[in-house]
């Protein structure tokens, strides 16, 4: 490849660290003059160095625009990252979240000045409850994992209210569960008991039956599950857990496959978080923020945390302190009232789709996945048999391995092909898992192109494993050394680095 003097490669701009390009005497803001008046700091003026580099606005814009171009994104192409639901993020949602009447509201303004915001929260709650067929919703959790915690703390509170807080500590979690499930259970003071999977990619009902008992607090089931399959025995499991005096926590990360077609409330669910950043399209923003409103059954509703809304005729009020609540709130998940910016986006999305459109969302996500499955079945191993999937296609690398190509290599080869890989090595129940989630916002043409590429790569693997092992070749960087990063962690830049460079 042509070597350049600048280090750039055509449009691909080399960009140094902020600490290389910025300086402490530069700034990209102007501010009104200070007055120099007497202060009230009581001797606590900063003495520690403040080596924060600044950039003028033109330099700053360029720094971040250049960085941005080193990223892949849904807006750039297909992003079939299973379990993460990378669907199109409508721009209307962004615009609405920035309306002054939402964005420039302080969480503690007098409630009379924020009735519109409270109405929006009420309307969002109505949609969530109607769609899920549940009894109450705690809007405040900040993401899916936080919602899990909310649900599990509600269960804990319900058990304590029954005097069983100390006796029921065991939570059943399938081996295919997302890592947040066991982590949450433990964070809420429970003990995790793992449930096996069956040959069909569902939880093993026998194992559930065997493990259930009077010391079980709950089961945490993902449905559709992380293999992209519907838990056929969900009703039986719900009945089992209820009969045993426990609760059914449903991980709702995959709710997008059934929204508008199945109400979790009809399946016996007691608590379920909803990732607004998955099913309801709020953008993932390179890692967050999300929002994890958690719906609750009648059994758990009284324990919902503060704050929550109450309507009094024309007026809406947030109950913010436990002492003011009617029920027995288990506490508070966070300061203020949760992710308002995400509520605006999610409600905008819901109103746009309507009940008919949301149903279509679920159906198209399932249709897209099954179409991909149909196209790929002969070329990859589908570990769980012949039936239809829900919104995700689970494959593995068993047909590639004989040629020396593994899941990670296929993923890196996809980078060259201009794709974000599917989720890899998850769920853990499948070796070398490839979890593909197309979502409903992909066209048939995109699916076909992706299938062609995967099939082509499967062919290529048979004769050219070297290509895979050394991939990526065309991405902004070659394969990164993650082991080294973990062995010799370097988690920040230090001012000494600048001095070293200067000295060299």
């Amino acid at each position: 490849m042509t070597k350049t003097i600048s280090g750039n490669k055509g449009l691909q701009q080399a960009e140094g660290l902020l600490f290389d390009v910025g300086a402490i005497d530069r700034t990209g803001v102007d501010l009104p003059a200070t007055s120099g008046r007497a202060h009230r700091l009581g001797g606590l003026r900063r003495t520690a160095p403040l080596p924060l580099p600044g950039l003028s606005e033109p330099e700053a814009v360029r720094h971040y625009v250049r960085l941005s171009q080193k990223n892949y994104a849904i807006d750039l192409g297909f992003f079939p990252l299973g379990s993460c639901t990378m669907k199109h993020n409508p721009r209307l949602n962004e615009k609405m979240a920035r309306l002054e009447g939402f964005a420039d509201l302080h969480p503690l303004q007098p409630m009379g000045t924020v009735q519109g915001a409270l109405m929006l929260m009420e309307e969002l709650s109505r949609w969530l409850l109607t769609l899920t067929g549940m009894d109450a919703v705690a809007l405040s959790p900040k993401a899916g994992a936080h919602g899990e915690m909310c649900g599990m703390l509600a269960i804990r509170a319900a058990l304590e209210a029954r005097g069983e807080g100390e006796t029921r500590k065991r939570v059943l979690v399938p081996s295919s569960a997302h890592g947040t499930n066991p982590a949450t259970a433990v964070a809420c003071g429970f003990i995790v008991d793992e449930i096996k999977g069956d040959a069909d990619g569902r939880v093993d009902l026998i194992d559930v039956q065997e493990k259930i008992g009077p010391d079980v607090a709950a089961i945490m089931l993902t449905n559709p599950n992380t293999c992209g399959l519907f838990e056929r025995d969900v009703k039986a499991i719900a009945d089992l857990i209820h009969e045993a005096g426990g609760y059914f926590y449903c991980d709702g990360a995959n709710y997008n496959a059934i929204v508008g077609r199945v109400r979790p409330g009809d399946l016996g669910v007691d608590a379920m978080h909803i990732n607004l950043h998955k099913t309801f399209s709020t953008p993932h923003g390179g890692g967050g923020p999300g929002a994890g409103p958690t719906v609750l059954s009648a059994a758990l509703a009284p324990f919902a945390p503060v704050p929550h809304l109450v309507r009094n005729g024309e007026t809406l009020t947030l109950v913010e302190n436990e002492v003011d609540a009617d029920g027995s709130p288990f506490g508070r998940m966070c300061a203020f009232h949760g992710q308002m910016g995400m509520y605006v986006r999610a409600l905008t999305y819901m109103l746009s789709h309507g009940s008919d459109g949301l149903r279509q969302v679920a159906e198209d996500s399932v249709l897209n996945a099954n179409y991909l499955l149909a196209r790929l079945r002969g070329h990859f191993n589908a570990p769980f048999g012949e039936g239809p999937c829900m919104h995700e296609v689970l494959l593995d690398d068993s047909t590639l391995k004989p040629y020396g190509v593994e899941t990670i290599d296929l993923a890196k080869a996809l980078l060259d092909e201009g794709y974000h890989p599917m989720t890899t090595y998850f769920p853990l129940v499948v070796h070398g898992a490839l979890l593909i989630e197309p979502t409903e916002t992909e066209s048939k043409a995109e699916l076909d192109r992706f299938a062609d590429v995967l099939i082509g790569l499967a062919e290529r693997a048979k004769t050219d494993s070297a290509h895979f092992k050394s991939a990526p070749h065309l991405a902004p960087m070659r394969r990164l050394d993650e082991t080294r990063a973990a062995r010799q962690p370097k988690l920040r830049w230090w001012p000494q680095e600048a001095m070293k460079i200067a000295a060299e």
Binding site: G22, V61, G101, V114, A117, G341
Partner: protein, 445 residues
């Protein structure tokens, strides 16, 4: 439907390729009784124009802060965010991407996180910082749990100056986890009491500076007391901008620094999404919650960045993870780091000074109103005043005069009905302050 690319013909063709007769064939595993045949009872889809009309109607039922003389803080601050910040974070490549699991095509996000971590460490005077928590309050709960892991102790002392919502959040999370909380009674300034509450079983002492009353505290004595007892000092803060002007906790012995970062780059947005800042000492980093970006090299030896030390995290460690956090505040950290880059040390110091001076002007003006007592001895941009009447009633009367004058402490926690928390930032003009003082005088007469 504008967001759904499949046409009816596409759907028919695809069902054919799958070998299914209808979409319901793909839902065979759902118990028949649970499969809805018709749409749920909610309105049908609407055009963008109609949805926009409705959302604007809702928005118009609020009074945005900027339309009033506005003096609220208490953990969320109204600052001017440069227009370029919001422009940049809306770039598709930042907005519509996921956690950077594939580092070769996510260097934009990863380098920005690495820069963010460094900036947070510099601002707080700490060694390392993580890639964010949900917000300051949940971050504080994580700090308490982390301190327990580090010290293998279960007693946590909280200052009475900690934001009551934070106290409740810490209590909710940590008690479930088996920690014992000792929360001191609400106090503007309880430095001595905090030190006194530390004992040999204490995992952490949690203070806040600035705290909910705006008080800033020299943390050295508390830090010494904690360390003497083998405990960690967790230094919280309500307003990250303070550290442009005041001594950072890292220079005063903090082991973990945690607080709300919303002031940089992020709108008030009625309380969220915000961004929890979390910094600690290098030696504790393997006990830290949340994601970490780190430096490494690629196959050609070029510098690059990856998510690292993930054996702490739920997706690898499951029930043994340091935290259950997965999605964090990604895009809010980006807004934070861009704003901080635009400021630089020079701009930040100026901005912090401006905030402080404006708050001092406000304290002078309100303190001069008969019957009003400024309670906070030392502060950055926020302080508490005692009124001769109930604060919530005064607040309503001020509102009628176009002033949103503060947060009654009693809204956050029972008690102290006569205390109002008041804040001023660079967005407040001299006219705002005069209007407030005049209105308050009128209301208290």
């Amino acid at each position: 439907m504008r967001y759904l690319p499949l046409t009816p013909e596409d759907r028919a063709q695809m069902l054919g390729a799958i070998g299914a007769k209808s979409i319901d064939d793909l839902y065979v595993d759902v118990p028949r009784a649970a499969l809805l045949d018709g749409p749920v009872p909610l309105p049908p889809h609407q055009s963008e124009m109609e949805v926009e009309r409705l959302m604007k109607l809702l928005a118009s039922c609020n009074i945005p802060a900027g339309k009033t003389a506005f003096f609220l803080g208490a953990g969320a601050y109204r600052h001017h965010v440069p227009a370029s910040v919001d422009h940049l974070i809306q770039r598709s490549e930042f907005l519509t991407t996921y956690t950077p699991y594939q580092p070769e095509i996510a260097q934009g996000t990863l380098q920005a996180l690495y820069e963010f971590q460094t900036q947070v460490a510099m601002l707080t005077g700490m060694e390392v910082a993580n890639a964010s928590m949900y917000d300051g309050s949940t971050g504080m709960a994580e700090a308490a749990l982390m301190a327990a892991r580090v010290t293998k102790r279960y007693r946590v002392v909280l200052s009475g100056g900690v934001h009551p919502h934070y106290v409740e959040t810490v209590r909710t999370t940590c008690e479930a986890h088996g920690l014992t909380l000792v929360v001191l009674p609400p106090a503007v300034d309880d430095e001595a009491a905090v030190s006194a509450a530390i004992d040999a079983n204490t995992a952490a002492v949690i203070v806040q500076s600035p705290n909910i009353f705006g008080t800033i505290t020299d943390l050295r004595a508390i830090g010494d007391a904690a360390h003497a007892a083998g405990a960690l000092m967790v230094a919280g803060f309500t307003e990250a901008m303070a550290f442009g002007l005041i001594e950072p906790p890292g220079a005063m012995g903090a082991d973990i620094v945690v607080g709300e970062g919303q002031s940089f780059g992020n709108a008030l947005s009625f309380g969220g999404p915000y961004v929890g800042l979390f910094a600690t000492r290098e030696k504790y980093v393997r006990q830290a919650p949340g994601r970490l970006a780190g430096e490494t090299v690629d196959a050609d030896g070029a510098r690059g960045f990856v998510l690292t030390l993930s054996t702490r995290e739920q997706h690898i460690r499951r029930e043994k993870a340091t935290s259950n956090i997965c999605t964090n505040s990604g895009l809010c950290t980006l807004a934070w780091t861009i704003h901080m880059t635009l400021l630089g040390a020079k701009g930040l110091k100026h901005l912090a000074t401006l905030n402080h001076e404006t708050a001092c002007d406000l304290a002078d003006a309100l303190g001069a109103v008969a019957g009003v007592e400024v309670l906070t001895p030392r502060f950055f941009n926020e302080f508490a005043i005692r009124l001769p009447k109930r604060a919530d009633i005064v607040l309503e009367a001020l509102l009628a005069r176009g002033v949103i004058g503060g947060v009654p402490y009693s809204r956050l926690a029972p008690g102290m009905e006569d205390v109002l928390l008041v804040c001023a930032t660079e967005t407040n003009t001299d006219e705002d302050i005069s209007a407030y003082a005049a209105a308050l005088k009128e209301v208290l007469q």
